[in-house]
C-alpha cells in the first residue's frame, strides 16, 4: 500500500474482495478450524431453541441447558480465534506459529473474559448512543487479535485501538455484508421451503409440510435459517476483521510490506533459477560468456575476467 493509502486504509470493496479471495484459497484445515467450533454451537442452539419452544418440562432444565450453551459459545469463540490466527498467517505469507498448550489456554481465557459482554452490548449498540459498527468491530477484533501471546488487557487495548481505525470503511463493509447476509437468508429459506415439494415431486414422499406448506413457518425453521446463514456469512466477516487488524497493525510493524516483499521474492525465484541452472552446466566457457554478455550487453570479457565472473556465480 502507498503511504497515504496506509493511513486511510484499503477501500471497503477491495478488502471484501481480498477477504473472499483469502477464504477461497485457504487450506481445508483453516476452514475446518472454523466449523469445528461453529457447527456444534449452531446445532446446540437449534436444539436449545426447539427444546425451549416445544418441551413442556423445559423450564426444569433451563439452567443446565443455558450452561451447556455457554460452553458451546466459548468453544466456538476459541476455534474462531484459531481460525483468524491461521488467516492472518496466510496473509502474512508465513506459517502459523505452533499452538502450545499455554497459548491455547490464554486464547480461551481471553475469549471467556471479553466475549460474553458482547452478547449484551452488540444488540444494545443498535441504540444510537452506542455506535454499532464500532462495538461490533471491537468484539470481532477480540477474536482476530487473540493469538495466545498477549493477555486479556493487551488484547483489549489492541482491539480498542483497531476498532477506532478507518470507521468509514468499517461502516460501508457492515452495510454491504448486511445486504449479503439478507440475500443468503432468502436463498436458504427458498431452498428449504422448496425441499418438501421437491421430495414429493421426485420421490413421492408425502409429509406434513407438503399437505400444509404454512406449517414450515414456525420459529424453529427461522432459527435454522439464521443458523445456516451464520455458518455461510460469518467466515467472511471474520476474515475481513482479521485483514483489517493485519493492515491496522501493519501501519506500525510494516508486516504487509514484508509479506508483499516475500511474495515478490517467491515470484522472482523462478526467473533467476534458469540463469543459475544454465550457469551450473558443465560447459564452463559457455557459462562465462553468458554471464559476461548479460553484464556487458553483448561484449565478451577476457577469459580471466570471465573466470572471475564465473566464480561470482
Amino acid at each position: 500500500m502507498k503511504p497515504k493509502r496506509r493511513q486511510l486504509g484499503l477501500g471497503a470493496f477491495d478488502l471484501i474482495e481480498e477477504a473472499t479471495h483469502l477464504l477461497r484459497t485457504a487450506p481445508a484445515a483453516t476452514l475446518a478450524a472454523y466449523y469445528l467450533g461453529a457447527i456444534p454451537f449452531v446445532l446446540g442452539l437449534l436444539f436449545f431453541w426447539a427444546d425451549m419452544s416445544r418441551n413442556p418440562f423445559a423450564s426444569e432444565h433451563l439452567a443446565d441447558a443455558s450452561l451447556a450453551m455457554v460452553l458451546l459459545f466459548l468453544w466456538m469463540k476459541f476455534w474462531q480465534a484459531l481460525f483468524t490466527r491461521l488467516i492472518r498467517a496466510q496473509r502474512a505469507a508465513q506459517p502459523a506459529p505452533p499452538l502450545t498448550f499455554r497459548a491455547a489456554v490464554r486464547i480461551f481465557i481471553v475469549q471467556t473474559i471479553w466475549q460474553p459482554s458482547g452478547l449484551f452490548l452488540v444488540p444494545l449498540s443498535f441504540i444510537p448512543v452506542l455506535s454499532f459498527p464500532w462495538v461490533y468491530a471491537f468484539y470481532q477484533n477480540i477474536t482476530a487479535l487473540s493469538d495466545g501471546r498477549d493477555g486479556a488487557a493487551q488484547v483489549f487495548k489492541k482491539s480498542w485501538r483497531q476498532a477506532g481505525l478507518w470507521p468509514r470503511q468499517n461502516g460501508i463493509v457492515i452495510l454491504i455484508l448486511a445486504g449479503f447476509i439478507l440475500y443468503i437468508f432468502w436463498n436458504w429459506s427458498a431452498v428449504c421451503l422448496a425441499l418438501p415439494e421437491l421430495f414429493k415431486m421426485f420421490f413421492g414422499v408425502e409429509s406434513k409440510f407438503t399437505r400444509s406448506p404454512y406449517s414450515l413457518f414456525n420459529s424453529t425453521f427461522f432459527a435454522a435459517m439464521f443458523g445456516l446463514t451464520y455458518l455461510c456469512a460469518d467466515p467472511i466477516l471474520k476474515t475481513y476483521y482479521a485483514l483489517r487488524c493485519f493492515y491496522g497493525q501493519s501501519i506500525e510493524s510494516g508486516e504487509d510490506i514484508k509479506a508483499d516483499l516475500m511474495a515478490v521474492a517467491q515470484v522472482s525465484k523462478p526467473a533467476v533459477s534458469p540463469i543459475s541452472k544454465s550457469a551450473s552446466r558443465p560447459n564452463a566457457d559457455n557459462r562465462k560468456n553468458q554471464y559476461a554478455m548479460s553484464i556487458r550487453g553483448g561484449d565478451s570479457l577476457s577469459p580471466q575476467k570471465a573466470a572471475e565472473a564465473g566464480g561470482l556465480q
Partner: protein
C-alpha cells in the same frame, strides 16, 4: 509534520534525530534507539515492552483472571438463561407460526 532531518533527539537536544519510536512517537538519536522484534524502539518503550506483565508479576493477579473468567461465564449464562426464559414465555401459537392465522369461528 516536520521531517526527521529537522528533528533533535528527545534526550539529547544537541544531537540530530535519526529515528522515530513507533510506540511513543518521539524522535531519538542513534544512541537512544535499539532494534527489537524488527522495530526500532527507544529505551523507555523497550523497557515497558519487555517488562513482565501484571499477571506474571503478581500471583494474586491469577485470582483476578479467574474472577474475570467466572464473571464472563456468569454473564453468558445469564444471557442464554434470559433467551430460554423468553422462549418459554412465548405462546405456542408463535412457535407454531399460527399466531397470525385468523380462526374462521372467530370471524363468524
Amino acid at each position: 509534520m516536520p521531517s526527521i532531518t529537522q528533528q533533535r533527539c528527545f534526550n539529547h537536544a544537541m544531537r540530530e534525530a535519526v529515528a522515530r519510536c513507533p510506540e511513543c512517537k518521539q524522535f531519538f538519536c542513534r544512541e537512544c534507539v535499539t532494534e527489537h522484534d524488527d522495530r526500532v524502539l527507544c529505551a523507555n518503550c523497550l523497557r515497558n515492552l519487555t517488562r513482565k506483565p501484571f499477571v506474571q508479576r503478581f500471583a494474586l493477579a491469577r485470582i483476578l483472571v479467574a474472577a474475570q473468567c467466572l464473571f464472563g461465564l456468569l454473564i453468558a449464562w445469564y444471557f442464554f438463561f434470559l433467551v430460554g426464559r423468553g422462549l418459554l414465555k412465548l405462546p405456542n401459537s408463535f412457535h407454531e407460526g399460527t399466531l397470525w392465522q385468523v380462526n374462521s369461528n372467530d370471524q363468524e
